[in-house]
Symmetry: C2
Subunit: 359 residues, 2 copies
């Protein structure tokens, strides 16, 4: 039994229930732009040690909540924990991003790959429970995973990529091999997210960071299909409450109708998509999360407020909007700046909810 939830704006907005103000959180809100994060990370040694120790993971998850009036916390972890648990040997080189000791390129590589066992990801579940307890019901806790396609890009390329030539080569040359890999990943992600839900996550987000590098038909076959399979296998109600699911395909603005048709509760939007148009297209089916350009946080307070107002105005009246950046907050942002954003969301959004608060 966890402490009772005091601020449920975020969960209510995801389910389009009335709220007093638009809830807000920021992707990568626990991160390098915060000096206290850098201090904890230095104590932990390196990034993976930070992720794998639940006390450290809990500490950094809560840090932004001490500074800002955020309406949700998100588990601090890495999207590549699943391939690491599959035995690929995740490591980080300074300034180079994530790498794997073993890469997946052939049918034999895929055949010998196990579905990730939740036992090997127990440290994540432990972190979820530790954080949920430490939150004491202040705000809900979001669990997350990378999408199968996005995880596969790192596994096949061996790290980050600009051209995705190995995985796309596989996609066009040996689609069955890639489907087999994505199938194993979909099973792994389903178990992983259900584990997080049982451990205490009150909503989950699937990050499809690289779905947008595909053509429409390939996106549907190689990314969206597997996110839909995951959705079909997720625990959608727990502790007597719905568990909302957010799908976020970066650069997926052309496919919102398809993403909304999966049965997800909410869609993440990056800043290239107009939120007013997005609501007109899919707002009857899903809530929307987003979508301020993270670079707005390089500007001064007034510009930040003006840009926040534009997004709020774009979404318009009523519930169903979770304010967020269109992608993660940058490491070079002055930590004073997010305060302007978050306070502006709460202050400026009240007028859009005024008549809805008769519940």
């Amino acid at each position: 039994m966890f402490p009772e939830l005091k601020n449920d704006r975020f969960l209510r907005a995801l389910l389009k229930q009335p709220v007093d103000a638009t809830p807000v959180w920021m992707m990568r809100q626990a991160g390098r732009y915060l000096p206290e994060y850098r201090a904890t990370r230095a104590n932990a040694g390196d990034f993976l040690s930070l992720c794998k120790n639940d006390d450290f993971a809990c500490e950094v998850t809560l840090q932004p909540l001490e500074r800002y009036e955020l309406d949700a916390a998100i588990l601090f972890s890495d999207i590549l924990t699943i391939p690491d648990a599959m035995g690929l040997g995740l490591y980080f080189e300074v300034g180079e991003g994530p790498k794997f000791k073993k890469v997946i390129r052939t049918e034999a590589d895929v055949d010998s790959l196990p579905v990730a066992s939740v036992n090997d990801l127990d440290y994540v579940m432990k972190a979820v429970t530790t954080i949920r307890n430490a939150l004491s019901g202040r705000v809900p806790l979001i669990g997350f995973s990378g999408s199968p396609w996005t995880l596969a890009t790192y596994m096949v390329e061996g790290g980050s990529s600009k051209d995705f030539r190995h995985i796309k080569g596989m996609m066009y040359k040996s689609p069955d091999v890639l489907h087999q890999l994505l199938h194993k990943l979909a099973l792994s992600v389903t178990d992983y997210l259900n584990g997080q839900i049982k451990a205490g996550a009150q909503a989950v987000q699937i990050f499809d960071t690289w779905g947008g590098v595909l053509s429409g038909p390939m996106y549907q076959q190689f990314s969206l299909l597997y996110m839909k399979q995951i959705l079909g296998g997720l625990i959608r109600e727990h502790e007597g409450r719905k568990i909302p699911v957010i799908l976020f395909t970066k650069n997926g603005g052309q496919w919102l109708e398809n993403i909304a048709a999966t049965g997800a509760d909410a869609l993440g939007l990056d800043w290239t998509t107009d939120i007013a148009e997005a609501r007109a297209r899919v707002g009857d089916k899903v809530a929307l999360q987003g979508n301020l350009d993270p670079c707005v946080l390089y500007a001064d307070e007034q510009v930040i407020r003006d840009q926040v107002e534009l997004v709020l105005e774009g979404y318009g009246r009523g519930s169903g909007h979770v304010f967020n950046l269109g992608h993660g907050i940058h490491q070079f942002v002055d930590p004073e700046k997010p305060k302007y954003l978050i306070d502006a969301v709460h202050q400026l959004s009240m007028k859009y909810h005024h008549d809805d608060m008769d519940y």
Copy 2:
């Protein structure tokens, strides 16, 4: 006086005049995937010396035409010749992409920046005329430039970027400074493209490689507006023939209506946009160029033919389509592969033009 043009499919398709088969060329068709290109480049010394010597530039421009039945040639040059001519000192570090010795970050930097003089770009005009003569009318020659926004990203960031934080910081903090920079670039690009047209270019393309990292409103204000200004200043008829203008904003699929409204003759599409939908949206106003995923060239002949057919079928009957990749051909592609693509375009497209050939 240049030799008479023998194959005008490309120019006709851009103007939506009937053709016997869909014309095809490939962005970066003269490039590192060709062993003969690598040989010429080794002779030239480095990349900039290759661009600045009109004999070498002509040699590599013609190389892909010796191998494939291409319907257009494109000037071999770099998109950053303009900032180089403005005095920023372009150089290339191995494996690092383009860099500038001087970067533009402040109002004073922008104020002291000259509009590029066509005199400093005379080597480009010389290359255009040399190539046009060497082509002997085989196919038309395309001139090109980067868009003001795209050029500005390199000038402000100092090279390639992942987050565009300096230029976007400028955009949100000091929009007037950025507008001043973009204005100087628009004047420079207009002169530069008009110089290429006078030197022999028979069509021009503006590459807006990074317009797609902006939000819709910012794209309109900081990228599209300046491309429209350029369009207004271009020579649109020369040597008794129209000079078609192609605008290509990578990841601009959400804004096709706005791009088509500039008065461009054709829009470049990357592979994330469905060409059938694009034609339905803007096909009454503009021709379309694209949009096969360059990674299809890692597959075998049959897959290449099938994927070519899907694009042709997507565009459908009649003229107004120039087949291309959705972005530049990759350096790791087997030079046998483009042959399958190009031959497939010509063979498979004839049925879509069958009844139009009464001219």
